[in-house]
Amino acid sequence: MELFLFVTFSALTVGSAAAVVWHPHPVKSALFLILSFFSMGGLYLLLQAEFIALMQVLVYAGAVMVLFLFVIMLLNLKPRGEDRAAFKVRVRWAVPLVLFFVGGVLTAVTGALARLAPAGSHGPDWVAAQGGNIRALGRLLFTRGLLPFEVTSVLLLVAVVGVMVLAKKERR
């Protein structure tokens, strides 16, 4: 059952990710990306990361992609403007190149996997004792991750101000 779900979700994720790159129309690309992110949420569920799975749906599939679609529709982008023939030539060059490098990294990592052993103390029992994934994560976030947490809040503030400055029309 779990393997079946894994295969379904990962096929959806990878398949629609490929469609993002392949499809000439930006709106369709964005919609495929939503599908990809959504099924990736399913993968996170299989990995027992409930909070991350929901955040994936809420933040990525929801907020971020709505923003993407919004901008694409606002600018009214059309598929034309991109040379399809040149695109296919580039694909022919890029795919073997990328597969070569990523395959290399993957083999290197898989070689090192044999030496991997569970080192952390956050097994399923510990998570259950904390009262579930979300509480365990929260506890960790406000102890070990407190400094990064504060820094990201500053980052978000900077992003808000930056976007305001960028998007504002210059008045002459």
Binding site: L5, L58, V66, G132
Partner: protein, 329 residues
């Protein structure tokens, strides 16, 4: 939550029965709400509303539904065919998910998940997406304008909505609906968090695109907004989704602020919890309809300013005060 996916234990039957009940309930609820809306509108305007079919016109919406099913499905010539067809389905699917976690009564939760509240908000963003897709695929400027307005509005009002909900979550330390409701056995959270409750309800009105925040489908400016080009049952699905959405936001408001299945101040008066729950939810729905026929539609800039300049600072302040009180009192 994880168990819901991987555990194949004896709970499957419960899930399937629950799903069927949800489907039936959401349809009946939408039919009833449409009738109620027309009745409320009628009585506010000193007329009777539908009276012909059934007692007090109670069967009117069923007849209307049959009429909708029988109508021709028109797809505009220049529309994006696939997306145009998918959008109504896309808008209807996610509104069924929240029913999995809504606490109708102490024993009447299909799945009492640890992350129940988050699940509802995660899936509520999908209806915006569907509106955007439908509006864009219609290839109609009114539809696209309506969809874009809808997104801008939903993004703006989602922030104070979540912030006001967070101040309740902060008090209970849980996203689990059963725990959120149990914490209100003695006193409802509307008395402890009046600001959050009001902000939530305003934002919920805006999230469901209801008057006075129905800018995305303002008929005097945009024909019918994002569903201008939709006809027949495709339009019907948008309509059903809208009314189901209204039920969901009111049900969440009931379980977060009005004590869910509990009676006021611990007195249940011998009335079963599910009756309390539904009574409060339908009262809130009535208030939503009351809003619609009382307040005129706001302008778009007023709408955005109100969220960004009033609601968001206020809800942040509320959250801060809640945190300080919980810490030091």
């Amino acid at each position: 939550m994880t168990e819901a996916v991987t555990n194949t234990g004896g709970d499957w039957l419960r899930l399937i029965v629950g799903l069927i009940l949800v489907l039936i309930f959401s349809q009946l609820n939408a039919l009833f709400l449409v009738w109620l809306e027309r009745k409320v509108a009628g009585h506010i305007q000193l007329r009777y509303g539908p009276m012909e079919v059934g007692p007090h016109g109670l069967l009117q919406t069923i007849v209307d539904g049959i009429k909708l099913v029988g109508k021709e499905l028109i797809t505009p010539f220049k529309a994006d065919k696939k997306l145009f067809v998918i959008a109504p389905v896309l808008v209807f699917m996610p509104v069924l998910v929240p029913f999995l976690v809504l606490p109708f009564g102490p024993e009447l939760i299909i799945r009492d998940m640890n992350v129940g509240l988050l699940l509802i908000f995660a899936f509520s963003t999908f209806s915006v997406l569907a509106i955007l897709v439908g509006g864009w695929a219609s290839n109609n400027k009114y539809a696209l304008l309506g969809a874009i307005r809808s997104v801008a509005q939903n993004v703006a009002y989602e922030i104070p909505l979540l912030l006001s909900v967070m101040s309740v979550v902060l008090m209970v330390h849980s996203f689990k609906f059963s725990e959120l409701v149990m914490a209100q056995q003695r006193i409802w959270f509307i008395f402890l968090q009046p600001v959050a409750a009001i902000i939530y309800f305003i934002c919920a009105t805006a999230e469901t695109n209801r008057a006075p925040f129905d800018i995305p489908e303002a008929e005097s400016e945009l024909v019918a907004g994002f569903h201008t080009e939709y006809s027949g049952m495709r339009f019907g699905l948008f309509f059903l989704a809208e009314y189901t959405n209204m039920f969901i936001v009111c049900a969440v408001a009931t379980s977060l602020f009005l004590g869910g299945w509990h009676g006021p101040f611990g007195f249940s008066l011998g009335i079963p919890g599910v009756v309390w729950f539904l009574a409060k939810t339908y009262f809130l729905l009535f208030v939503l309809m009351w809003f619609r026929w009382t307040f005129p539609r706001v302008r778009f800039d007023q709408l955005m300013n109100f969220s960004w300049k009033v609601l968001i600072p206020l809800s942040m302040l509320n959250l801060l005060v809640t945190a300080l009180v919980l810490k030091f009192v």
